[in-house]
Amino acid sequence: MATTGQRKRLGREELQRIIDLCRAVEERGLDPFLINVEDLIAVIREYFPEWKLPEDLVLDAETIQHLASVIKMQSEWVKHRSTSLYTDPFLLEEKIRRLSREQLGTIFLKSWRPIVEMEQISPHSLMQAIRYWNELIPMDERWQKTQFIEIETGTATRNELVEQKVLADKMFSEELDTLWKELIQKTGEKEKIEYWDFIGASTFEETVRRAYLTSFLVTYGYATMEIDRLEEIIFLKPYKKPVSFDKKQVTSVPVPISFDDWMKWKEGRMD
């Protein structure tokens, strides 16, 4: 008579064997009916009362899971056999071997309905292609463009880098500070100044630069904007000390700066 330990070892081996068998059917596409599910369930049931340890219970669950997937394969097999498409592979193979190439081809043509599709160029696409061709740079010119120009390495001064716009002549924070002081000075005794009167400069480029920096003055709490919606005028109000917006409600106000607006302001015709 086998001891409990021996029986447990035997049971584990049996479950592992069942798992391997199910895996072989799943992975190699074997006939799922090679497995007698009822017999295997009886084996699983026989050893189930022995399992107390978690790893044994996991092995038991794994066995059931593999068996379930074999049952699923069996059900799919039955479903396929019941459809009109089911054919015994051996019978079909035998038929194929006996038929000549010509017979096989003729049979296939009776069930083949090839897709009909066309390719056609339109006058519109032809025109587009000609335009593209005319604008296309010849190959030898294109290759020339990708050639490298050899330049000797050297040193550059800070001023040279500023001229080449690699470095700004002032630090950004310095520029903001200067502009803030200018805003305070221009506002003077009055509480606020009209937006365009502050950002407007002799060139359009400088105006855009000032507008860009002013937006940071407002964002960082150096100044605030006041909008007269009736007259559609924007005012700038500088703060004596930068203000934190942590607990205040902040809104974003886009201000378009167009060349026309700048021209109107310059000519003193700003509405």
Binding site: G29, E76, W77, H80, S84, L85, T87, D88, P89, L91, L92, E93, K95, I96, R97, R98, L99, R101, E102, Q103, L104, G105, T106, I107, F108, L109, K110, S111, W112, R113, P114, I115, V116, E117, M118, E119, Q120
Partner: protein, 192 residues
């Protein structure tokens, strides 16, 4: 009088929709031929199945048809608009081809016989067969050097697909062009 005018307007509308549907279906616009149902709905309106039905009856005279390939299995009852939207539509031949016509299309009888064997074997094996097994079957009737070339051609054309484990499956073109059950019945019923 007014009713007659409305009828004419409706007819004009359908004529224009049928033309648009023919353009969409005949000219290839994507990598694969055919048009998805949702694309047709976008271009022709929600009544596109009706438009395709009328186009199909026009094409009958030319031995062509509008073929609907549903996603997964074809619905047993009247398909819903959602099922149509997910389906793919093609224009295919309505009747069969003669061997002479296939030569003009660039297919030799060997290539066609090989395709017939490949597809029917995959169908008989529940839609999946190892490439080695199909190659062995083809070598019985075709010279060895042609077998690999032919299988690769069927894969490139979209009749079959191959996975990393060298298993062959039926691909989109087989579903669009081949009457699978007719092929099997004809093969089994053929007298050798």
């Amino acid at each position: 009088m007014e009713r007659r005018q409305n009828g004419l307007k409706k007819k004009d509308l359908y004529v224009s929709k049928i033309k648009r549907a023919a353009h969409l279906l005949f000219f290839r616009r994507h990598r694969k031929p055919g048009v998805k149902g949702w694309e047709l709905r976008k271009r022709l309106g929600a009544d596109y199945p009706k438009v395709l039905g009328i186009l199909d009856s026009f094409l009958e005279k030319l031995d062509l048809q509008v073929k609907t390939v549903f996603e997964g299995e074809a619905p047993k009852e009247k398909p819903s608009l959602e099922e149509y939207d997910r389906a793919r539509f093609y224009i295919t031949l309505r009747g069969g081809l003669t061997p002479k016509e296939t030569k003009m299309m660039g297919w030799r009888i060997d290539d066609i016989a090989g395709l017939a064997i490949t597809i029917s074997s995959i169908i008989s094996k529940k839609g999946k067969a190892p490439r080695d097994e199909i190659e062995k079957l083809l070598r019985d009737k075709l010279p060895g050097w042609r077998v690999e070339i032919n299988l690769d051609r069927y894969i490139r054309s979209g009749y079959i697909a191959e996975d990393e484990n060298r298993q062959l499956y039926l691909d989109w073109r087989t579903r669009a062009e081949i009457d699978e059950s007719a092929l099997i019945k004809l093969l089994l019923g053929a007298e050798s």
